[in-house]
């Protein structure tokens, strides 16, 4: 029998409900812990962590120009996460946002390249509609298979990413290649196919994606909380048997919600190609579909939470690229920092739910 060594007496105990204040404190501690650990890393590389962190902060928010860049990073991140949240609420694990963004971008680019004789408002409307439809249909495929044959949507959505991503490469190498360019690339969009800009008070002009983003946050909040659709998809997510028992058309709800989720991601593709990128590239999604999964969890699937967390993520990403140029810290350092922060914050969830306890001996 094991001797009662002190270590063997440690074990994990479930906590009661923590108060909201304490929960926030734990999360805050997690962020502090992550920054400290990241700081140790920087110290080991021979940098002053405080000045590096200051550079990150001032490099992302220090001037209106930098603020603009940060907002431009935030728009696709926030919208993609909102799309993912819609599916996650239904416990449909859509990790195919990456591919849905690409599908939307391709559809939008088709009109930008081949119908650029249309007046700009009409062209942009067509591009938006096409991107929503293309993204939505791309997301509908795994949903159809899931409702029809019970396939696993996690693998299915993941694999679809690579198909459409490499389809962009094919277009770049072949049919849509810019004949004038020296190396393989697709042409830049003409003026009609570019998004107009609107001023954000105090910051300046940013492409109108920011309006779309704010509108979508509010829309999704209302949709999830106050409409029958939102109620239905929550019930399906919580308990599909109960949904069927209550007479809900479960398959229809899954297909409809997934179409919306993927459609929103598709729209992100259009906003990217027509906004900051001004051409179709294979970096249109650039990992946002995966970052969105982390953000969705950190924001606990709340639309306003998504806005806050995606803002923080954008600050971090922009700050890290600033850090690279200023200190010549390799770009992998920014990935490491992001990883550390995620690790700590998600890890803190464990300590919010459990604690480590020492087994007490009974008094004889």
């Amino acid at each position: 029998m094991p001797k009662s060594a002190p270590f063997s007496r440690l074990h994990i105990v479930q906590r009661g409900d923590l108060s909201g204040a304490k929960t926030s404190l734990y999360r805050l501690l997690a962020v502090v812990g992550a920054l400290t650990t990241g700081g140790l890393f920087l110290l080991a590389l021979g940098f002053n962590p405080l000045s590096v962190y200051w550079t990150m902060l001032s490099g992302s928010l220090g001037s209106s120009g930098m603020q603009k860049e940060t907002i431009k990073l935030m728009i696709p991140l926030c919208l993609t996460t909102l799309g993912v949240v819609l599916a996650f609420k239904m416990k449909f694990w859509n990790i195919g946002a990456e591919g849905q963004i690409c599908a939307g971008a391709i559809a939008a680019s088709y009109f930008a390249y081949f119908h650029n004789d249309l007046p700009s408002p009409l062209l942009l409307t067509l591009m938006a509609a096409a991107s929503i439809l293309a993204g939505g249909l791309w997301g509908l495929i795994p949903a159809l298979f899931k409702t029809r044959y019970g396939t696993n949507e996690t693998l299915f959505t993941l694999m679809l990413n690579y198909i459409v991503l490499h389809f962009i490469t094919y277009l770049r190498e072949g049919p849509w290649r810019n004949p004038e360019g020296g190396f393989a690339a697709m042409p830049r969009f003409t003026k009609q196919a570019r998004l107009p800009e609107l001023p954000i008070p105090g910051i300046g002009n940013v492409h109108i994606g920011w309006v779309v983003m704010l509108a979508t946050v509010v829309f999704l909040f209302i949709y999830l909380r106050y409409t029958k659709h939102g109620y239905e998809l929550t019930v399906v997510g919580e308990n599909e048997r109960t949904a069927r028992y209550a007479g809900m058309p479960v398959k229809k709800i899954i297909l409809r919600t997934m179409m919306m989720s993927a459609g929103l991601c598709g729209l992100v593709g259009m906003l990217q190609v027509s906004g900051p990128d001004r051409q179709l590239t294979d970096a249109v999604a650039n990992g946002r579909g995966f970052t969105a999964v982390s953000i969705a969890w950190l924001a606990r699937l709340s639309p306003f939470g998504v806005m806050v967390v995606s803002f923080l993520f954008s600050v971090m990403q922009k700050g890290c690229s600033m850090m690279q140029t200023e200190y010549r810290i390799p770009s992998s350092m920014s990935d490491i920092l992001q990883g550390i922060i995620l690790f700590f914050v998600l890890g803190s969830e464990f300590f919010i739910r459990y604690r480590i306890a020492l087994q007490k001996e009974a008094k004889a």
Partner: protein, 502 residues
């Protein structure tokens, strides 16, 4: 008489899950050569206590002594090497293996005790070379028992072993337990059925809210004493059968059959009629087709033969929603309680809206009426909840079931199907549920009551239909039926001469 040897000595054993204290400083001795019944309502901490003995949980506090020496049981493996064997409610056997192969599984070399010898000693009849998938539930249970005995278990813990057995199979199990006892083994049987405690045990330990409220010799106990210890107060144990005159036939199930995709018959040739103003009970061991029957009537499961008529009109083939609209309500309480009918993460008003939200006009959810309805329901049924916004999964089992049944009744159904509505409830809460069903019956609703406890079925229902492996083996008037009769019908027997284990 010399002092009996103590096989297990527990002192101050405590286990908490979050805020819930599942076991609160429990002291308990189990002697070699005795059968100790561990009695308590659901949630009183019986299973938690035994899981600490079998190495599944670690105690937060307290000590365990096995045969006089203090031990720390850190895994099921530790438990086995200490001679503790646990028979769980759900069997852990490999279906494609024979009994013998299952027993040998995971043991190095020859088993300490050969299963043939054990069978001979205990007078058990187990076909050791039969594949497990071909076995009945009680045969599988015997294999589980042989499995732990062949590893040299001196202490046996059985978690609600009778829940899945017919009365005849229970008698057989009890014979085996008595034989093991006479060989000097210590046996703990977890149960919440008083009759079984009285018939099998030497002593009873009663748990109430995680505390050991007393250990008494079974000879000194009776049902009323035990109930009072278990519930913490005196309870009227009489279930009343409300007088009511059965009216016309409402629900007519005619030659109903259901086959699954593999052609296996889940239900076969089921015919019965449910009248308004009657409670028709459905008896049967777990898994005899109760779920399929409920789901077929509610339109959740396509039928492959026969017909279901409501007021003379066929409802089979209609959508679940249409069937709800025509006045058929179903409240099915599965093992995990929330599985079907409620959404754990939602509050009471949102759960009340499940079946009616689509009757509201427009795109929006209007929750104000549901909040009012919830407030009334909480008051009328004495549902204890911190507030209307509390998710129902945070309520206790009894309150969850009141919400479910209350919603179904508020829909003013014509037919109320309720499966296991008192599952896991304490006696007081169960009585409240029986009253609710009786009220519905007197209002002229046809109630189909799928139950587990034969005593309850006999007292509450007007008639009882018996299911056995997907077939209807009897419909009897419960005033003239006996448990023995129902038990035989549950086993699918036609005469009492046949052997259930042939």
């Amino acid at each position: 008489m010399s002092e009996p040897e103590v096989a297990i000595r527990l002192r101050g054993l405590t286990k908490t899950f979050g805020k819930v204290i599942a076991n609160d400083h429990i002291d308990l001795d189990v002697r070699a050569g005795e059968i100790l019944a561990l009695l308590g309502e659901n949630g009183s901490g019986k299973t938690t206590l035994m899981n600490m003995l079998s190495g599944i949980y670690q105690p937060d506090e307290g000590s365990i002594e096995i045969k006089g020496s203090p031990v720390r049981i850190r895994s099921p493996h530790d438990a086995i090497s200490l001679g503790i064997g646990m028979i769980h409610q759900h069997f852990k056997l490999v279906d494609l293996f024979t009994a013998r192969e299952n027993i040998r599984l995971g043991q190095h070399g020859r088993p300490a005790h050969s299963p043939d010898d054990i069978c001979a000693q205990l007078g058990m009849h187990v076909a050791l070379d039969k594949k497990v998938y071909a076995m009945s539930v009680s045969e599988k249970q015997s294999v589980e028992i042989l499995k732990v005995l062949s590893r040299g278990a001196e202490i046996l813990i059985l978690d609600e072993p009778t829940a899945v057995l017919t009365p005849q199979e229970i008698d057989n199990l009890f014979d085996i337990l008595r034989a093991m006892k006479s060989e000097g083994r210590a046996i703990v049987i977890i149960t919440h059925k008083l009759e079984e405690v009285m018939s099998i045990s030497d002593r009873v330990a009663v748990l109430h809210k995680g505390k050991n409220v007393g250990v008494i010799d079974t000879g000194d106990a009776d049902r009323f004493v035990l109930t009072e210890m278990m519930v913490g107060r005196q309870v009227d144990l009489d279930i009343k059968r409300a007088p009511a005159r059965a009216g016309d036939v409402i629900l007519d199930v005619h030659r109903l059959g259901i086959q699954d995709a593999d052609g296996h018959h889940e239900l076969q040739d089921i015919s019965f009629q449910l009248h308004s103003g009657e409670i028709l009970g459905v008896a049967g061991v777990a898994g005899s087709g109760q779920r399929a029957l409920c789901e077929a009537i509610a339109g959740l499961q396509p039928i492959t033969g026969g017909s279901i008529l409501l007021d003379g009109t066929r409802i089979d083939g209609l959508t679940p929603r249409e069937i709800i609209r025509r006045g058929v309500s179903m409240a099915f309480i599965p093992e995990d309680r929330l599985g079907m009918g409620l959404v754990g993460g939602m509050n009471i008003p949102d759960n009340l809206l499940l079946k009616t939200y689509r009757d509201q006009p427009g795109l929006w959810m209007n929750r104000s009426a549901a909040r009012q309805e919830a407030r009334e329901l909480v008051e009328r049924l004495e549902i204890s909840t911190p507030g209307l916004n509390t998710p129902v999964q945070k309520l206790s089992g009894g309150n969850v079931q009141k919400v479910l049944l209350g919603r179904e009744i508020n829909l003013s159904p014509r037919v109320l199907i309720t499966a296991y509505p008192v599952r896991g409830l304490d006696i007081g809460a169960s009585m409240r549920i029986y009253d609710m069903l009786n009220e519905q019956k007197q209002k002229g609703v046809g109630v189909l009551f799928i139950g587990e406890d034969l005593d309850v079925l006999l007292k509450l229902c007007d008639r009882i239909a018996v299911l056995s492996s997907g077939r209807l083996t009897a419909i009897v008037d419960s005033r003239f039926a006996t448990k023995a009769l129902l038990g035989m019908k549950m086993a699918g027997l036609t005469t009492d001469k046949e052997d259930a284990y042939a």
